[in-house]
């Protein structure tokens, strides 16, 4: 009996509970002499259903969570002494083999008889566990149903209780967002701390050399200088810098043109078209950067006698800049529109031209908001992954030359984690350390940017 069957049975029971509770309220209300119930019949149904569903669901979840642990202990306990004496890591692998055998997955080589036996034991125990689960859940559900059913009386305030329960569920849903942040922070932090046990944080943050591959091959994890992340930070800054050099002026000027000069018709078409750029998946930009922009720059470089790497920082940065144009432009557009018309009118009244008004009145007034928008765009550029994975290099060069290939934090995270990985090696854990840095930096930028923007809005409201 599979877990999903148990769930379906549970849902059926809940439906039954709803019908029973509702029916009891209706029967009571239409009996002679009629009794006045506090709530509508549906609420009594909901009351019984919730009583039936919530405890059993909790029971079900706990059971499914605990089952693998118990099963593992029981299976390993029954193994021959020789196998039981294995170190934990190998025992874990062996247990994986057992489970693979049960699932019918491909197992390499002919399995040992002990493992086959263990697999049979595993399958038997699991099936017993599932039957027990089904029985427990059904009995508990029926008990809860009976308990709640007996409480369906006219003076029982079913609606208040059901509404309270729904409200708690809403609170629980809103906790998911918090839990996500905590989960991101803890999971990344935890693995990063394991990394810092192997490599000192000072070496990581200030080291000038990055070559995670060699550290694995020589089997001397954390050998000096292998995990210095400065070249990655520099590469990230270089590419993001180029991107901002494209996006900031183009985005800002587009926003100014759209909000101050363009007629309503141009605005109605151009604005959504420009925002289309934000809707294009980043992998598409990456393809474009890698297959068209990179080679084009290289040919151009050859023509004018410059040495341009085919995975140059310039190519990735340019395309990334184009990607963030709509971020800058739509955020600045909002900000510029929020500047009160009275300021403009005052400036025109003094005889200023439009561009003078924009440069001397509107932009200074909108400056905090624009800075906020640019900060958000920078955070977007630093965290962007696909463009740089496809169009930037892998070698960690410490250079400020935009024609050279550089690598970024996100590229390294992807390269370290894609493919085979062992979870104890410094190489894999380094990705989480990089992730931690990335998360903290972007978080900082976002918090500052959002604060700046919010304060700016309040100023003119």
């Amino acid at each position: 009996m599979s877990a999903s069957t148990v769930l379906i049975v549970l849902l059926g029971l809940t439906a039954l509970a709803y019908a029973a509770g509702r029916q009891r309220a209706i029967a009571g209300a239409s009996a002679t002499p009629a009794r006045t119930y506090h709530s509508l019949p549906g609420y009594y149904g909901g009351y019984v259903a919730l009583w039936c569903l919530l405890p059993t669901l909790a029971l079900f979840a706990i059971w499914i969570a605990v089952e693998p642990i118990v099963l593992k202990a029981a299976v390993i306990d029954a193994l021959p002494e020789a196998l039981k004496a294995l170190p934990d890591a190998e025992l874990g692998l062996l247990y994986n083999d057992v489970r693979n055998l049960v699932e019918g997955n491909v197992v390499f080589g002919e399995p040992q008889p002990a493992i086959v036996e263990a697999a049979e034991r595993y399958a038997r125990l699991r099936s017993v566990s599932r039957y027990l689960l089904a029985a427990t859940v059904v009995v508990a559900g029926i008990a809860a149903l009976a308990f709640a059913y007996r409480r369906v009386r006219p003076e029982m305030r079913a609606r208040n209780q059901v509404e309270k329960a729904i409200e708690y569920m809403l609170v629980a849903a809103s906790l998911v967002a918090i839990l996500t942040t905590i989960g991101i922070f803890l999971s990344v932090l935890f693995e990063a701390l394991r990394f810092f046990r192997l490599v000192s944080p000072i070496d990581f943050l200030f080291g000038l050399e990055w070559s995670p591959q060699t550290a694995i091959r020589e089997d001397q994890v954390g050998s000096s200088g292998a995990f210095g992340a400065i070249p990655l930070f520099a590469g990230t800054l270089l590419i993001s810098g180029i991107a901002m050099l494209v996006a900031a002026p183009v985005g800002l000027m587009s926003a100014i043109y759209l909000s101050e000069y363009a007629g309503p018709r141009v605005r109605a078409y151009a604005k959504p078209l420009l925002e289309l750029l934000a809707g294009i998946p980043t992998v598409v930009y990456g393809y474009f950067a890698a297959l068209w922009v990179g080679p084009m720059l290289r040919r151009f470089g050859d023509a004018v006698g410059l040495e341009v790497a085919s995975e140059s920082a310039l190519g990735a940065g340019l395309v990334m800049g184009i990607m963030i144009i709509p971020f800058v432009s739509s955020l600045s557009d909002d900000v510029i529109n929020a500047v009160p018309q009275a300021l403009r009118d005052g400036s025109y009244g003094l005889g200023a031209t439009r561009s003078e008004t924009i440069r001397h009145v509107v932009l200074p007034a909108a400056l905090p908001g624009i800075v906020g928008a640019l900060l958000l765009a920078v955070s977007r550029a630093i965290g962007e992954t696909m463009i740089v994975v496809m169009a930037a290099g892998l070698a960690a060069n410490l250079t400020a030359n935009p024609f050279d290939a550089v690598t970024t934090v996100t590229v390294q995270i992807v390269t370290l984690l894609v493919g085979d990985q062992e979870f104890d090696s410094a190489k894999t854990l380094a990705a989480f350390a990089l992730g931690l840095v990335l998360f903290l930096v972007t978080l900082l930028l976002n918090v500052i940017a959002l604060k700046v923007v919010r304060r700016y809005r309040e100023q003119y409201e």
């Binding site: 569920m169 999971s187 990344v188 000027m253 078209l273 068209w292 561009s355 630093i382």
Partner: protein
């Protein structure tokens, strides 16, 4: 015009200075305006270049070259026993039939190296279609039939004009002889571009002519299904709580700031969370759409919450007050009146969030969805790829034929995105209500 004497006007020197500078200021004004227009056109121009390049490169991938050959379905070769057993028909060497047909077509090719080049014109998987025909109807054995056989990807590129015939022979994938053969066949009307069925119906393949996007599309579908089922209820519930029930205190402020921040966290960090939490701690399978859907759920939640809150805010307070006035409870006000009115706005936000999730690939790389997947996944637990990840994989492939397939896959992805966003706009137009 003697400004210097009038009591109210500015003195003459100032007027003169203003008039002097006027031309310069107007010039600057025009320049500034042109600069703005140029910036706008730069962005829009890139958009145009982008679509033109994609369509120019991608449209040819929807057709592929086939070569007409007369295949003699020789009973001796296919089923020497003559018992027509399915096993025998299944395992017969249909490749040899194609080779025989090529020999009949070009009888003067005898040298071993040449023969190998000749065979290379036809896709190594072209025999599958002959086998299917024979298996469906064993009665055709013994006849001679004309087949439009799948050409090799290099031939396909040649026919589509993507191989430079003038390049030195060593620098191209086809030899002079091969090009001559293809030209001879073409002159006989035996080379044609036909609809590329494989592109829409099969999974990934090392042979570009067999590679398709179907399994990636199904993977993306499962992932979006998981995302939708989880993120819509959670997002709406969170928005309802924050907007309608939550007291204004530091705790709810924290939730709000947190949601705004989550919306700006780089997507790859969500991938790290998925790897550490769902795969390493919960032990869910790698490469499964279920895990991808969970990660994308966490990513799209902030988008949906923010959109849903905006939709709830747009419902005027008078609706709530009227419902409360006739005796509805707070929960009844929300469930019976506010939520139905806000639902179109919430759905619009959800569709936009889904569209963004569909295009996302960075977090999927973290959870192992970059595997080479041929089979079509049957459930959210099977290993699978996703449309954007397939694009990423193909973009990395060296074969020339994958370039057009990548562009075509991008066109398909963009078509889905346009469809979803179009639905969102339609929904908004249809149900948006101004109070």
């Amino acid at each position: 015009m003697n400004g210097g004497d009038t009591p109210n006007g500015p003195p003459q020197p100032t007027r003169a200075r203003v008039a002097e500078g006027l031309a310069r200021r107007y010039r600057r004004e025009r320049r500034f305006r042109l600069l703005g227009l140029a910036a706008l056109l730069f962005g829009l121009g890139f958009l145009a270049v982008f679509f033109v390049t994609l369509i120019a490169n991608g449209h040819t991938a929807f057709v592929q070259t086939r070569i007409l050959l007369d295949i003699e379905l020789d009973a001796e070769r296919i089923d020497p026993d003559g018992r027509r057993e399915p096993i025998a028909l299944e395992t017969a060497n249909y490749q040899q039939l194609i080779r025989d047909a090529l020999h009949r077509r070009f009888p003067d090719v005898t040298e071993r190296r040449d023969v190998r080049e000749l065979y290379a014109l036809i896709s190594p998987a072209a025999d599958l279609e002959i086998r299917r025909l024979v298996l469906d109807d064993p009665a055709v054995i013994g006849q001679t039939r004309s087949f439009w056989l799948l050409a090799d990807d290099d031939v396909d590129m040649l026919v589509k004009g993507r191989i430079d015939r003038d390049a030195p022979e060593a620098g191209r994938r086809l030899s002079d002889r091969q090009i001559r053969w293809v030209d001879t066949l073409a002159a006989d009307g035996r080379v044609e571009l036909k609809l590329n069925r494989y592109f829409f119906t099969s999974g990934d393949s090392r042979d570009p002519e067999l590679a398709g996007i179907w399994s990636a599309t199904v993977g993306s579908f499962f992932m979006l299904l998981v995302t939708l089922l989880l993120s819509f209820p959670l997002g709406v519930a969170t928005a309802v709580y924050l907007e309608e029930f939550a007291p204004r205190n530091r705790w709810t402020d924290l939730i709000e700031v947190n949601i705004n921040n989550l919306a700006a966290v780089p997507s790859i960090v969500f991938g790290l969370l998925g790897l550490a939490l769902f795969i390493n701690i919960f032990g869910l399978p790698r490469s499964a759409p279920l895990v991808g859907g969970l990660v994308l759920t966490l990513m799209t939640l902030p988008v949906i919450i923010i959109a849903s809150r905006a939709a709830l805010k747009a419902v005027p307070p008078s609706i709530r007050e009227a419902a409360l006035g006739v005796g509805a409870s707070k929960m009844q006000v929300v469930l019976h009146h506010v939520l139905p009115l806000a639902l179109p706005g919430m759905l619009t936000g959800t569709i936009i969030g889904m569209a963004r999730a569909l295009g996302e690939s960075a977090p999927l790389l973290m959870i192992g969805m970059v595997a080479f997947i041929v089979d079509v996944p049957e459930s959210p637990l099977d290993p699978s790829s996703a449309l954007p990840v397939q694009i990423f994989l193909w973009a990395d492939s060296p074969e020339r034929a994958f370039v057009e397939r990548t562009s075509a896959a991008i066109l398909v992805l963009l078509a889905f995105l346009v469809l979803m966003n179009g639905a969102a706009i339609l929904l908004r137009r249809r149900f948006e209500r101004r109070w």
